[in-house]
Symmetry: C2
């Protein structure tokens, strides 16, 4: 998907190198789309008690894993053959790191699908589904926006994703307190609530991975590592 920003990568002696970098980006975004769909389907499977869809997510994770290995191999080959420098090297290194995040998001989707199957077996009550839908759609959007920031090399969008993380954490804390109340009210809720807790935790982790991707986008575009820095400092880096 060439656009104006990709022109920056266009200034190479080797046309083939340029194509390899574009191919790497495209495959990464394909994997991103796949993982995004996995998260959406996992939440859908759980809240609709749809065990067929949950099973699809569980099996689909293998495809995500295979993509991780393929992209990784391609990235390492590019480094070995083309010896990229500066911005190109940052792109390749960022992809190597971000595929790990995508693969982990895939794992979280699989975990959610497993809980969906467990909950479906235990019978129908929608306790905790409101919370899962709410946080689920929030982190799904964060993941989508972080991939979009990568596609467009948009550091400001990446920053917006990072700012959402605090809100997700607050939503998660509130949901956890609600579930604790359900558990105390009736011990028969405990097992079910524990499953919901694991799902919420998995979703919160999806948000964390979206932030990691966003940090890598800022690193690619600005050349600065904004991990473990304050939001103010990150804003300063992005604003430059």
């Amino acid at each position: 998907m060439p656009n104006s920003k990709d022109q920056v990568y266009g200034d190479h002696i080797s046309e083939r190198f340029n194509n390899e970098l574009l191919e790497l980006k495209t495959r990464f975004l394909e994997m991103g789309g796949m993982v995004e769909a996995q998260v959406g389907s996992a939440v859908q499977a759980l809240t609709a008690n749809d065990s067929v869809l949950a099973e699809q997510v569980r099996v689909g994770d293998r495809g995500v894993d295979q993509m991780e290995i393929g992209i990784d191999e391609e990235a390492i080959l590019i480094i070995a053959r083309r010896q990229p420098a500066a911005r190109d090297l940052r792109l390749v290194i960022a992809v190597i790191k971000m595929v790990v995040d995508l693969e982990r998001v895939g794992d979280e989707a699989k975990k959610i699908a497993k809980q969906a199957l467990k909950l479906e077996e235990e019978g129908q009550t929608s306790l905790g589904y409101v919370e899962i839908r709410h946080i689920g759609s929030h982190v799904h959007a964060m993941l989508h926006d972080s991939l979009d920031a990568f596609a467009r090399l948009d550091a400001e969008q990446a920053l917006r994703v990072m700012k959402e993380d605090k809100r997700v954490d607050e939503e998660y804390q509130a949901a956890a307190r609600t579930l604790l109340t359900y558990m105390m009210e009736d011990t028969r809720n405990i097992s079910r609530c524990m499953s919901i807790m694991w799902v919420l935790r998995a979703l919160e982790r999806v948000g964390d991975h979206a932030c990691n991707i966003a940090e890598n986008v800022i690193f690619m575009v600005k050349g600065e590592d904004v991990r473990h820095t304050s939001m103010e400092e990150t804003e300063r880096v992005v604003g430059r």
Copy 2:
């Protein structure tokens, strides 16, 4: 820490390059030692109700984060300046990936320390401490052994670490069942048991990260990606 295996890296035109790779390995192992200590201290702080130690772990995580950034910069510089190939490139790429794992282990230690502070405030009962000590010492050993496998480039030791993961998962499942029973017996246990559950989950994650490091060691030594492959296939790769 030069040893016979490091001689493999000795066959370089540039002595400086060789030193840079050794320096990278040494710094990575330093970070590993730091993170190992953080995990040990976090478990100790929790099970001994030692809030001073817990606070030290919490603050100490910043040092881990700083090391991550420093090692990453060094690794990227080596790629840009030295254009390593084959085994050297695999070493540098593996370090870039493994520092992420070490940093996450540091985060898990910090989470455990936070739960230690929370539990200490809530008062003294040792419910769940046996399980935490047990799984804690198991994953601590796995982390240590994975770093040792890296230091000695020992694929067989890496394989042994990976085999331990299944046992940790079993221990974790058993502990989770025990805690569920405590919660159902007396609702006053719920809040405390939830804290213990988070700690157990954090420890289980430490074991996962140790496995990731082990996978990278096999990749470095054997040149093959053993992620998402069966244990039989991994054994075959290591045995070659």
